[in-house]
Symmetry: C2
Subunit: 312 residues, 2 copies
Amino acid sequence: MKQASEVFSGDHRAMARAITAVENGTPEGRALLEEIAPKLGAARRIGVTGPPGVGKSTTVDAITRVIREGGEKVGVIAVDPTSPFTGGALLGDRIRMNRMADDAGVFMRSMATRGAAGGLSRATQDAADILDASGCGTVIIETVGVGQSEVEIARAADVVLVLLSPESGDGIQAMKSGLMEIADIIVINKADRPGADKIEHEIRAAMELGLKSRRDTPIHLTEAFRGKGIPELVARFDAFLADRKKDGRFEERRRENMKRRLRTIAEFMVHRSLWESDGAAERLARLAEAVLNRTRSSYAAAEELVSEALGT
Amino acid sequence: MKQASEVFSGDHRAMARAITAVENGTPEGRALLEEIAPKLGAARRIGVTGPPGVGKSTTVDAITRVIREGGEKVGVIAVDPTSPFTGGALLGDRIRMNRMADDAGVFMRSMATRGAAGGLSRATQDAADILDASGCGTVIIETVGVGQSEVEIARAADVVLVLLSPESGDGIQAMKSGLMEIADIIVINKADRPGADKIEHEIRAAMELGLKSRRDTPIHLTEAFRGKGIPELVARFDAFLADRKKDGRFEERRRENMKRRLRTIAEFMVHRSLWESDGAAERLARLAEAVLNRTRSSYAAAEELVSEALGT
């Protein structure tokens, strides 16, 4: 397939088209994922999440610049569930994309909420696969840590950075949101602002009290806007990944992540067959009528529905 | 089957066992639902919901007494998602059940949250079928209107009463919770308490502004504790159901409810086959490994998983 070889060559337009295809779940997208499957797994996947306003995009851009100094290609997927434009770009993203467009070694894509349940998580992982196949050594998945599904998206990475800032409210609040449980490294950005000491202290205190398993999670201070602390942050997650590769926890995590991913894809497939395929609405109406006519039990009708929809 | 005939005869112990069986989704429960299917549909299903503390159980008990005066058998399913005892009874339920135990024409069952997604809604409808088959002319489904899933449970009824009280906070709050959209009759209980006028006014004002389709929803005042307004309330939903039977909207609503129910059951069945059947965990682990080994794409692995689990 022409498109697959273009993706392998790292052609930005081909990559963008490929991501749109997998995002929309088209047969073309599916065929492409089939072709790239044997080449996947080389990229390290970095999840970056945190409350709105902590400086996630600034930090991701700064990390990208540091990695690019070593020559490695970087792919960025920015997940914005609040964006009304599916797969489109908001003003902020557009500015970022223009800035990054100068560098052929960086590919950036913004993804918004899809209608289907679990859809954004599925599409994000598929897009990460495209970037992996295109030769990006690092794929950064940036997502606003506002809901369970966004937290899940970040969690699918090999290493998760949770960003906070002195302005993002107290550390206790962050603990409550479930963000801390997925953090491999806690980053306090805007560390020059008043309150940085306080939030660090709060996080430490909360970890001592409640999240004993997370007691050793490192806290890293950055000022992403001026690049301060960023090379050290990159060195830190490099070391984290190297350690985990040594003791097998890297592979173990990939296995757990892949299990969750297969669940999401399987449920997506089944959901589509059951409720969105041709004739699904008529089938449901017909079988509901059969139960009301007392010619089927509700379970027999549901079984028939599953059987017809999935061809069992 | 012996159990089915015992259910048809209205034997309380047989009904209780039958509900436990359908709640747990056992093969015995399924067989029973198959046997009773040809006899279903006669009972009218009354949904009663509202915020905690408005007097739902007192109102349901008072409604039950009024209906019992006419000799009709009544079944009550009290859904309490906060109860830690699956299918068990809390102190308050126990008192109610003892009080009702004197009357063989009343069957009461308390149901708590089940683990499975959509499980409580599914189990509640199945239990209502058991009560229907056992000869209850009225099945009341009482549920705390705290979350979307509880609202959905009440919504599956032929008529929905939404209870509020002067103490339940302002009417605007109730509008926000999505309760009003499913109300066929709004009941202001504890109508003797200060603030009853105010909440009625607020509800009317909110309906004028926002819920135009619900503008004609009747508001009914009760003092359930002393039975005041309850015979009139029963007459009101009787008339509501009679009207709807005349113009076909009763059957139309049953069709829509049955479609939602079949969706829930189908998803429950698929979910169980995919993730909870024998060998499901091993299958998932094996296919995740296959993707990580690059011998399958994630989609091919998910397809294989669905196919193996559902026998397609």
